[in-house]
Amino acid sequence: MSSRIALAAFAAAFAGSAALAQVPAGYPADYAQVVAAANKEGKVVIYSALDTKAAKPLIEDFNKAYPNIKVEYNDMNSTELYNRFIAENASGQGGADVMWSSAMDLQIKLVDDGLAMAYKSPELAKLPKWAVYKDMAYGTTYEPAVFIYNKRLVTGEEIPQDHAAFARVISTHADKYKGKVTTYDIEKSGVGFMFVVQDTKYFPGMKDLEHAFGKTGYKVYSSTGNMLEKVSSGEHLLGYNVLGSYAAVRAKKDPGLGVVLPKDYTLVLSRVMFIGKNAKNPNAAKVWTDYILSQRGQKMIGSDVELYAMRDDVDAEYTAKKLNQQLGSNVKPIPVSSEITQYLDSKKRLEFLAQWKAALAAGSGK
């Protein structure tokens, strides 16, 4: 309710400048019609895995540009997002206009299942090739998977700088790290699962790491926030494959938390956005999507939202460009393509999980 009041206030405050902002520079002239139709729809319903608090600067900035489009922003975890979206589509009640999720594989699957609307954004030419899928889905961010550590209790040599070092540290200091290493519960977290699948591709010593995990009796969570909290408090000491965007935000205000970008290779995830096939506000959805892909939206993502802008022509605190400069060819973005959906086949997924568990069990000596 209070959001409505706030948005109305925005609408009132920026109504004056609205006329100027209608068609962004470089967009085709007929884009004015899309904006007009979007204004008529009056709102856009977004389902997102990014929590509302983090998305707030984006919503506010969007409303500066488009004061007549109210943003109904709903955050839920990526599985819930997917489940709700398919149920709503099956029941014939459109729910989301825009889907925005870090579970890249699930997003691609929805596109492949024909639940996305084809839309060529006017921004298309300016986007990196890897970020566009079938002119339907778009990668919007560039978020590294990082290691985190407790700064008070883990120092010097023990701070792992690459994947092999992570395995080495936790197995050579087995007593200290017993039960104090954490990562995603890959049975619960789609993102965690995706990272580990990619790890097996890039890291030849993955088996050793799995054994080391098993040996330390590592702790698993389904969310990044829990890992950050527990490592910061010292209940755990090291975190593996943590979503770097969230870690960076917390590390900024939490003196106890350290973040490492692995030197051998750094996985990068890109939040995938698409417009729902049965969107009730398709034009507003287009305007929102274009905004996110635009330089303006990306700048927001790279600064206030702290998710790393994926466009190369953006200067902000967190950008793909900076990350690429820092790490060179060791950045490994997870492709926005159907290649990553192979483990959504339940048989293959269960096999992978079984192997993972067996490796852990072997490590723990059970």
Partner: protein
């Protein structure tokens, strides 16, 4: 029962019966629709709304072949059994001390004893993590003082002890009301021949209330299978699963929704809990019979505790400390600091940031408002509905009444988490209800169904206090049933209803699992937000909202005490 007045025509009889039949049918629909959906879903191999579904027993085959399922079942049995062994003796002893002895400060001890049953298990569990986890406030203080803190709450044993301690009120409530209805003469006889108070409790009082203790043992054992917040918060990181968290975990195990597997697990849980619910019903009947045989209690004489007083006081203090103070102070402390743990100076980490964030976050403010709304307005509506159901069976001993008796027990046996999911399906796929999906109505309906058994018991205990001759007098004067209910019974039970409203308010404030899947813009309630935020890891916000939740419950409790509402039936 008065005979039907001669002036009644068949039509007017139908009119008089219609509300009753309607009430019962609506209740039955609200109970069976979600349950039927769950059963149906468990017999498919894909979501029931998927075009590519096939019927079969694949879901059951899958979970029975999954080692995690058996591990989770074993843990559920261990925890349920263990917590029963802890909660029953402790609850019984506390009841004895409170009801029968000259212990002082009873009026303020009693509300404290009941606190754990009104605080959300999510909040309590989270409080234990912050207070008594490996780097919790109390753990670190203990370690600094004594060099070691020899407990681990992240273990089956730890969870069992916590679950046992926090379920003491469930036993206490039944044990103390059974003790109330016993005369104290037998105990005095034992005292006269020189038995110590402890001996009296063990050899005289407690054996006399055995049926009630048995009933509460079954209840606690049954609640053990329903545990969700506690194992979610304390067990998950260690990979310790119980049936309800196993069910929750299945949401994502296949990568895509595995509703059929979740439904199959739910049916397995029902297969265990429903017989327990029926057993409870039998025992409750038995215990009432037992207590009434003892007849009217004479003037209660308090047993002097003498030197035992200190032991009793210490026992109560220790329990209140571990089951109430430790978790709640943990929550409160966490809500006011930016970070915590080993090597953190708390005085430097103090902040009001959490509450500023909550204040500035429309969804959270809406969650708080909705939680108040669902407790106050929703609670009132719920009590109205329960009263209608209560009247539908009041003083009628026919098939319909027996049907309702069993009907209201059904939802109790299904985990709240899945009832919520089933209600989401109902609201998605049952056209007349679809416009209400994103409104608080969906949450309210689910809550009302889940707490049916509890609420009806509150109402019927009020109804039973109305002596039949008052109603019969009106009936013989020619009033119809509806008129009797409206003009005689209802006014007489209004204080009972007011008390029920307050209790339902507190229960609705504390409820969490049922709303997890119903959480959507417009339906935010603190309980479900806590689960979601916990999963999302916004721990500071979890602490802030938990504290707000505790305050809401506290206000309810305060009002209840102020008006002298009996906190139990």
């Amino acid at each position: 029962m008065a005979s039907v007045p001669a002036s009644w025509t068949p039509e007017s009889r139908a009119v008089a019966l219609a509300p009753r039949a309607l009430t019962i049918l609506v209740t039955a629909a609200a109970v069976f629709a979600p349950l039927a959906l769950i059963l149906y879903q468990s017999l498919l191999d894909a979501p029931f709304f998927d075009a590519k579904k096939n019927a079969g027993l694949d879901a059951y085959r899958f979970i029975f072949a999954d080692a995690d399922f058996w591990q989770a079942s074993e843990n559920s049995f261990l925890i349920a059994g263990g917590m029963t062994l802890i909660a029953v003796p402790l609850g019984a002893l506390l009841a004895f001390v409170m009801e029968r002895t000259d212990i002082r400060g009873r009026q303020w001890i009693e509300p404290l004893l009941l606190v754990p049953s009104f605080v959300s298990p999510m909040v309590l569990s989270f409080g234990y993590v912050v207070a008594a986890g490996p780097v919790g406030f109390y753990t670190i203080w203990t370690r600094d003082l004594f060099g070691a803190a020899p407990w681990n709450i992240y273990s089956v044993l730890g969870m069992t002890v916590i679950a046992g301690l926090t379920h003491v009120p469930n036993v206490y409530v039944y044990a103390s009301s059974a003790l109330k209805s016993l005369g104290s003469d037998v105990e005095e006889a034992a005292r006269v021949i020189g038995a110590s108070p402890f001996r009296v409790a063990l050899s005289v009082s407690l054996p006399l209330i055995m049926p009630s203790l048995l009933f509460s043992a079954v209840l606690v054992f049954f609640l053990g299978f329903e545990l969700f917040g506690l194992p979610l918060v304390l067990g998950d990181p260690e990979g310790i699963l119980v049936l309800s968290t196993y069910l929750y975990k299945l949401t994502n195990k296949l990568g895509t929704p595995s509703y059929h597997l979740m439904a199959a697990v739910a049916m397995c849980i029902v297969a265990i809990t429903f017989p327990l619910v029926l057993l409870q019903r039998q025992l409750l009947k038995g215990s009432r019979k037992y207590a009434s045989i003892k007849g009217k209690a004479g003037r209660m004489r308090e047993l002097p505790l003498g030197p035992w007083k200190w032991l009793a006081m210490a026992l109560i203090a220790l329990w209140i400390f571990t089951a109430v103070l430790v978790p709640l102070s943990g929550v409160a402390l966490r809500a006011f600091v930016t970070n915590w743990g080993e090597g953190v100076n708390l005085s430097e980490a103090l902040t009001l940031e959490t509450f500023r964030t909550i204040w500035g976050e429309p969804t959270m403010m809406r969650g708080i408002l909705n939680t108040v709304l669902i407790g106050v307005v929703g609670g009132l509506l719920t009590v109205a509905c329960y009263t209608a159901i209560g009247f539908a069976t009041h003083r009628r001993n026919d098939g319909w009444s027996r049907f309702v008796d069993y009907l209201i027990l059904v939802p109790r046996a299904v985990p709240g988490l899945l009832i919520g999911l089933a209600f989401l399906w109902v609201f998605l796929f049952f056209p007349p209800l679809t416009p209400l999906r994103s409104t608080l109505f969906s949450v309210w309906l689910a809550y009302s169904v889940v707490w049916l058994a509890y609420g009806i018991r509150l109402i019927s205990s009020s109804l039973l206090q109305v002596s039949p001759e008052l109603e019969e007098a009106a009936r013989s004067a020619g009033a119809r049933r509806a008129r009797v209910s409206r003009d005689i019974t209802l006014p007489l039970i209004r204080y009972g209803l007011l008390g029920s409203w307050l209790l339902v308010f507190m229960i609705f404030e504390r409820e969490y699992s049922t709303a997890v899947y119903l959480l959507a813009p417009g339906t935010e309630v603190i309980g479900a937000q806590l689960v979601s935020l916990w999963q999302g890891g916004a721990i500071d916000i979890v602490a802030g909202l938990s504290l707000i939740n505790v305050v809401l419950v506290g206000v309810g409790l305060g009002v209840a005490l102020r008006f002298g509402v009996r906190l139990r039936d």
